[in-house]
């Protein structure tokens, strides 16, 4: 069964001959899992971009971080709407409306610039940095190679043996 699913994933079985597989995929958990795994392996072999396992969580987390901008959009919508309805009603736009629209536009841009400055000042990297005094008095002496750096090194600059052997014993 798994072999047939693999063949179906590789387009080697005609769809008309695969009805029993389809029903199998719908009813059986393990078969559906095999189906998605064969696709993952195929994607990797073909070099197709694969979304990371935590893609959804990352996306949702980033969405949560986005500021909720209510007022400027609402006022923008209102301006556009009133502009549109006045055009429909009178056929031409009174000069005062365009002045009001420009004023609203300037307000929106100004508000956005203000927002950007605020959000910039919200991430002061330097404020999180330790002071040199703590550096001098409170130091961790290390005699083993930290695993996280060794892994990063071997991922980007692998040596011949690191593909097969974890080349150094390291602290977790």
């Amino acid at each position: 069964m798994n072999e047939q699913i693999s063949a179906l994933a590789d387009n080697e079985i005609a769809l008309e001959d695969a009805e029993h597989l389809m029903s199998g995929l719908q009813s059986s958990g393990p078969l559906a899992e095999a189906w998605s795994q064969y696709h993952l392996i195929g994607d990797v072999m073909r070099g197709t971009q694969v979304l990371s396992p935590s893609f959804k969580q990352n996306l949702m987390a980033k969405l949560d971080l986005e500021p909720t901008v209510l007022a400027p959009n609402a006022s923008l919508l209102k301006v556009v709407k009133t502009k549109a309805s006045s055009v429909e009603a009178h056929g031409k736009i009174p000069a005062t409306w365009s002045i009001a629209a420009s004023f609203a536009g300037i307000m929106v841009v100004g508000w956005m610039v203000l927002q950007m400055q605020v959000s910039d000042s919200l991430t002061p990297v330097i404020a999180e940095v330790a002071t040199p005094q703590t550096a001098a008095t409170n130091v961790a002496a290390v005699q083993a190679i930290p695993a996280e750096y060794l892994m990063a090194h071997q991922a980007s600059a692998p040596s011949a043996s690191s593909y097969y052997i974890q080349s150094a014993s390291y602290s977790e």
Binding site: S52, A130, V142, H153, Y163, I165
Partner: protein
């Protein structure tokens, strides 16, 4: 021509004849020495190319520290592209598949098989760059005897660093195929710290690619490894710069990456002398995290960490400790 000119000149003055002969002998000896050196570099150059351009299969044993793993390799060059599949034969059946510079590793971990993507380099027997200029600048090469390895006749080459900033290597190169059969790395106490050697090797002349796929274990879950967050970095940092690098080492890559357990991104720079690589990590120290100072040598890997201003510096690589220390100390904090 120059020698002949000098000798004939000296010959014409009979009383200098003996001196002329000695001079001629000395210069010939120098010439022979230069010729064998040049020969040795040609053998090494051929080995660098053969690893990519030949199609072969066999088993090699990879040894580092206390560990040793036999690996089955099949490598095909079809005139246009390179394919290779390497399977670890003992313990968990890790597989490394490469196509050109793209490497995909199928790494069994507990009940899962983790799929890791890498940029391929230094995969045995292709551990040498095809451009040997950088290596020529930092190492000296000399011919040794011939020896039998994996039932093949091999020429031995000794590659020694010109200074204490790199390890020494001994290579066995197949006299007929030109392929690297065995590579051993020695530290300055002349102790073997890494060895990779074929114990079975043959050429293949069949271009079919049926074998170029991982063996699939239907009982295991296949998952992509956690996202490796590393992006190329071309910016000049306002917080640090590099002063003099250790002789012969040059920067080959710079990126910004996340490192497990670190909340701030880390600058990751890679240096090479053509053969060995050093990673340099530069990051701002975080409040509440103890700065790390220390050094260690484990197997073939050296490690050195230091603090410069507000920066935590970490350097490590398969090189002597002096080289990682110099790289770590090359970072200057900009106030």
């Amino acid at each position: 021509m120059l020698i002949f000119a000098i000798v004939s000149f000296i010959d014409s003055h009979m009383k200098f004849k003996r001196f002329g002969l000695i001079l001629l002998l000395a210069m010939t000896a120098l010439n022979v020495r230069a010729a064998t050196d040049e020969n040795a570099w040609q053998v090494l150059q051929k080995a660098a190319v053969a690893a990519h351009a030949l199609s072969y299969e066999g088993i090699f044993v990879c040894q580092s520290g206390q560990q040793s793993k036999p690996v089955q390799i099949r490598h095909l060059f079809n005139g246009q592209f390179e394919f290779s599949r390497n399977v670890v034969l003992d313990g968990s059946p890790k597989e490394v598949l490469s196509q050109g510079a793209d490497v995909v590793i199928y790494n069994p971990k507990n009940e899962k098989i983790v799929i890791e993507k890498r940029r391929g380099q230094n995969m045995f027997p292709a551990i040498l760059p095809t451009d040997l200029d950088a290596i020529k600048a930092s190492y000296v090469l000399r011919m040794g005897d011939t020896e039998r390895v994996a039932d093949r006749q091999a020429q031995i080459l000794f590659l020694d660093g010109k200074d204490k900033l790199r390890y020494s290597y001994k290579f066995w190169v197949d006299i007929e195929y030109g392929l690297l059969l065995k590579s051993v790395m020695y530290n300055h106490q002349n102790e073997m710290i890494e060895s990779i050697a074929f114990n079975q090797l043959g050429l293949i002349n069949n271009a079919n690619l049926d074998w170029f796929k991982p063996k699939i274990d239907s009982k295991k879950n296949y998952v992509m490894e956690d996202e490796v967050n590393a992006v190329a970095d071309n910016h000049v940092s306002p917080h640090w710069k590099l002063k003099e690098l250790p002789l012969g080492y040059f920067k080959v890559d710079q990126m910004i990456r996340t490192v497990r357990g670190k909340s701030l991104p880390v600058s990751h720079l890679i240096f090479s002398d053509g053969l060995a690589s050093i990673s340099l990590f530069i990051e701002p120290m975080e409040n509440g995290v103890k700065p790390r100072l220390g050094r260690a040598v484990v197997g073939n890997t050296s490690f050195h960490s230091a603090v410069v201003g507000y920066l935590q510096i970490t350097a490590l690589g398969e090189v002597p400790e002096a080289a990682v220390a110099q790289i770590a100390n090359s970072v200057v904090f900009i106030k």
